[in-house]
C-alpha cells in the first residue's frame, strides 16, 4: 500500500513509547532540590566564615562546580544523571559536567586539539548566549538608564 509521510509519522508516534515522566519528574525534583539545598548549606558555612554575601555566592558556585567535575572524573556523574535527568543538568553541576566530560573524553586527541578545543563543545553556546545577553542588558541600562 502507498505510504504518505503524515500517515507514516503517525505510525511512528504510535509505536514510540513516551518518556517516563512519572519517574523522571520526581527524580529531577528531588535531585535538583537536594543540590540547591546543598548549595544553601555551603553558603551557610561560607557566611559563617565571615565571607560577604556576594563572595559566598561565588564560593558556592565554585564548590558545586568542583564537585561536578570530580564526580565526572570518577565516572559517577553520568550514572547519577541517567536517573536524575534535569535534576543534575539544570543546577550549575550540569554546566561543570558539560565542560569536564568533553575535556576528559577528547584527551586521546591531545591536550591542545583534544581537551582544550572540545572543552567548550557543549558549554560554548551557554557562555556565548549568557555573555551576549548580559552585554545587551548592559547596553539597555546604559542607554535608557538606571532601571535596576
Amino acid at each position: 500500500m502507498k505510504l504518505d509521510r503524515k500517515e507514516y509519522l503517525a505510525l511512528s508516534q504510535k509505536a514510540s513509547p513516551p518518556s517516563p515522566s512519572l519517574k523522571n519528574v520526581p527524580a529531577a525534583f528531588f535531585t535538583g532540590g537536594a543540590i540547591c539545598a546543598l548549595g544553601q548549606f555551603f553558603k551557610g558555612i561560607f557566611l559563617g566564615w565571615g565571607m560577604e554575601d556576594k563572595a559566598a555566592g561565588t564560593a558556592v558556585s565554585v564548590t558545586l562546580i568542583f564537585l561536578g567535575v570530580l564526580l565526572t572524573g570518577l565516572r559517577l556523574f553520568e550514572r547519577a544523571a541517567k536517573w536524575a535527568g534535569a535534576g543534575t543538568l539544570v543546577p550549575i553541576t550540569g554546566f561543570a559536567n558539560s565542560v569536564a566530560a568533553p575535556a576528559l573524553e577528547f584527551k586521546t586527541e591531545g591536550f591542545v586539539l583534544g581537551v582544550c578545543v572540545k572543552m567548550f563543545s557543549i558549554a560554548g553556546p551557554v557562555l556565548t548566549f549568557g555573555i551576549s545577553a548580559s552585554v545587551l542588558y548592559g547596553l539597555l541600562l546604559y542607554l535608557f538608564g538606571g532601571a535596576a
Binding site: P26, G39, Q40, A103, V115, A123, G130, G138
Partner: protein
C-alpha cells in the same frame, strides 16, 4: 527554613525542566543556553531578585542563577564605568564559576581517563 525553600524552589525548577526535556526533545545545550538568557532577562525585569530573596540557592544554583549573577554584575558595572561596564560586568561577576569549570576540567583531564559506559 531557607534550606526547605531552596530545596522546593530548586526542585520545582528542575522538575519543570524535566517536563520540557521529556515533551520537546530540546537538547540540553539549548535548554541551558535558554535558561542563562532567561536568568538575565528575568533579573533585568526585576522578577528574579524576589525569588532569590525567597529561596536563596534554590534560585541561584540552577543556571538561571548564572544569568542572574551576570545581570547583576552588568548593572553595577554600568553604573560605575558607564558603557565599558556593559562589556565587562557580566563576565567579571561570573568569572569565578567559569574559571573554576575550565581549570578543574583541565585538571580532571590530566588526572582521570575517560571510561566506558556499558
Amino acid at each position: 527554613m531557607i534550606y526547605v525553600k531552596a530545596f522546593l524552589v530548586g526542585g520545582v525548577i528542575c522538575g519543570l525542566s524535566q517536563i520540557l526535556i521529556d515533551r520537546t526533545r530540546l537538547t540540553p545545550a539549548r535548554i541551558l543556553s535558554a535558561y542563562v538568557v532567561l536568568g538575565v532577562a528575568l533579573t533585568g525585569l526585576g522578577l528574579w531578585e524576589p525569588v532569590v530573596r525567597f529561596a536563596g540557592c534554590g534560585a541561584t544554583v540552577p543556571l538561571m542563577g548564572f544569568g542572574y549573577t551576570m545581570a547583576k554584575g552588568v548593572s553595577e558595572a554600568v553604573m560605575q564605568q558607564g558603557l565599558l561596564g556593559a562589556l565587562t560586568g557580566g563576565l567579571t561577576a561570573s568569572a569565578g564559576g567559569i574559571a573554576a569549570a575550565v581549570f578543574f576540567s583541565l585538571l580532571a583531564a590530566v588526572i582521570f581517563s575517560p571510561g566506558d559506559r556499558s
